[in-house]
């Protein structure tokens, strides 16, 4: 796997990781302090990170397409 692909995968993994830790924080927030306002803010972060993850996957996808069509790659 070349370095560009590794970097693009890394870029997609970061928002995925944020989705995971925010989901855990959301669960804990509702379980322990039941702060709904805070939980809503956490869900907003999750939605934003999903979008960020999707953008990173789009970049990865077009990179892979380009490298297939390019004879140099």
């Amino acid at each position: 796997m070349n370095e560009d692909v590794k970097k693009l995968i890394h870029d997609a993994r970061n928002p995925l990781n944020n989705i995971s830790v925010n989901a855990e924080l959301g669960k804990l927030t509702l379980e322990t302090i039941n702060d709904k306002e805070k939980a809503m803010a956490i869900f907003d972060t999750i939605v934003n990170e999903c979008k960020r993850c999707s953008q990173s996957l789009d970049v990865l996808s077009s990179y892979l397409k380009d490298s297939k069509s390019s004879p140099d790659e």
Binding site: R13, N14, V21, E24
Partner: protein, 440 residues
């Protein structure tokens, strides 16, 4: 409860994980760059470091190298791929764990389990006072008495003492003796910029400023019902002090960008390494703030004033290292005597550092610490000749020492020496002539 430093360049990850760890009852500091993490590590020690290896301005590995020299803490690497494990395993040894992205709560708890269990083990040592303080000398007995007394009240405490005396440990002792329900939350006023300090102390509402993507509770709110430890309080910008004063006076705060008044109820333990005289002279703390923060001032004694505690501290540190490295190193009488007679200008922190070094250099055949030839560190203020004021010296002796030290400091430049000492060049020559006559 562990004291954790979280270092990662992804701000969202840092904010969220910090909150998660705090909800699990840990004290957390965070950094998003190598330089800020290094700065925090230079000021504070941690039980656990959660670290991203690749940071925008340097490698996390370099950070680990500096930690090995100055701190003793468990390390968890945050990595996107399990293969990193094998790459750094040989380099970093067994005292390391990994968090593989995406991280969940179970992983996070498991990584911290070792630290919290070792802290619990450490705290269960029967010779520790309030679970963290070591020493049976008179100055320490006095200190324990003050901690016990103030713990029964709600008074704010200001801790004073030289660098390395263990101010954070005493704050922890006060918190533990108070038996309060809330947490001990620490904030270093010296590590925060004046732009960030308000948000860190009082929190902010979503959208309060650029980058405030969600509501954040400040340290005052997080320590509600517990203890707020404000380290290096005298480093707080003077223009920010009225805001803190208002909260201390009213016990109410408003988050930045918010309108709701929030009640806060916590004991504030602040710390400074400046003396009372310096506080007044340097005007780094407003007078009204001093009276609010230092309702009960406590001066922590320097190690040189409680040398009889050195063997106990040495034993305590060796016990800790033996537990950490699963070894059985000891110390001989001669080494203990050398350790007990040194002045330790860097106090307990310097002693611990020296023991750690001697532990690493320990003789494998005798299993005994090997001390260096001298203990002088770049920060040692003590000199072999020990000049200074001691009872029994005459005014003439002290004056001579002052003149000679100043002259030595300026490489024999008499004009500069006279200027600095505030005497005429003629007076300086007269004094020096009289000294050479005395010697002859």
């Amino acid at each position: 409860m562990a004291k954790i430093l979280l270092v990662d360049d992804d701000q969202t990850f840092v904010n969220t994980t910090r909150e998660l760890l705090e909800m699990l009852g840990h004290i957390v500091a965070s950094a998003t760059s190598f330089s800020s993490a290094k700065e925090i590590l230079n000021r504070q020690s941690f039980d656990h470091l959660i670290l991203d290896l690749i940071l925008p301005d340097g490698s996390g590995l370099n950070l680990l190298e500096s930690i090995e020299d100055h701190n003793s803490c468990s390390v968890t690497l945050v990595t996107g791929h399990p293969s990193v494990k094998s790459l750094v395993k040989d380099l970093l040894g067994p005292n390391i764990s990994y968090l593989i992205k995406p991280i969940d709560l179970q992983q996070l708890k498991a990584a911290l389990d070792t630290t919290t269990s070792s802290i619990a083990e450490l705290n269960s040592d029967k010779d520790l006072h309030f679970g963290c303080l070591v020493g049976e000398s008179k100055p320490m007995t006095n200190l324990y008495q003050q901690i016990e007394r103030v713990a029964k009240t709600k008074a704010n405490v200001m801790l004073m003492g030289e660098s390395g005396v263990g101010k954070e440990m005493v704050a922890s002792a006060i918190h533990s003796a108070s038996q309060v329900k809330g947490d001990l939350v620490a904030a270093n006023c010296g590590a925060l910029t004046s732009e960030l300090i308000g948000s860190e102390l009082f929190g902010h509402e979503k959208g309060a400023f650029t980058g405030a993507i969600q509501r954040k509770e400040g340290v005052f709110e997080r320590s509600n019902g517990g203890t707020l430890f404000l380290d290096e309080v005298t480093e707080m910008p003077i223009d920010q002090q009225p805001n803190l004063l208002r909260v201390l006076e009213t016990q109410k705060l408003t988050r930045i960008g918010g309108t709701e008044l929030i009640n806060v109820n916590c004991r504030v333990v602040s710390a400074t390494n400046r003396s009372e005289a310096q506080l007044a002279e340097e005007k780094c703390l407003r007078e009204d703030m001093y009276y609010r923060l230092a309702v009960f001032p406590i001066t922590i004694p320097p190690l040189r004033e409680r040398k009889e505690d050195i063997p106990l501290l040495v034993e305590h540190f060796i016990k800790g290292f033996n537990r950490e490295y699963e070894s059985d190193i000891g110390v001989d009488e001669k080494s203990l005597e050398r350790l007990s007679t040194y002045d330790w200008p860097g106090n307990v922190r310097e002693l611990r550092h020296a023991i750690h070094r001697a532990y690493i250099m320990a003789d494998v055949t005798t299993n005994l610490l090997v001390l260096p030839e001298n203990f002088t560190s770049p920060f040692s203020k003590a000199e072999n000749s020990s000049p200074g004021i001691t009872v029994g010296k005459t005014v003439e002796d002290v004056e001579r020492e002052l003149i000679e030290s100043t002259l030595k400091h300026y490489d024999g430049d008499k004009k500069k020496t006279a200027e600095v000492l505030g005497v005429s060049l003629k007076t300086l020559y007269n004094r020096l002539n009289s000294y050479s006559e005395e010697t002859a």
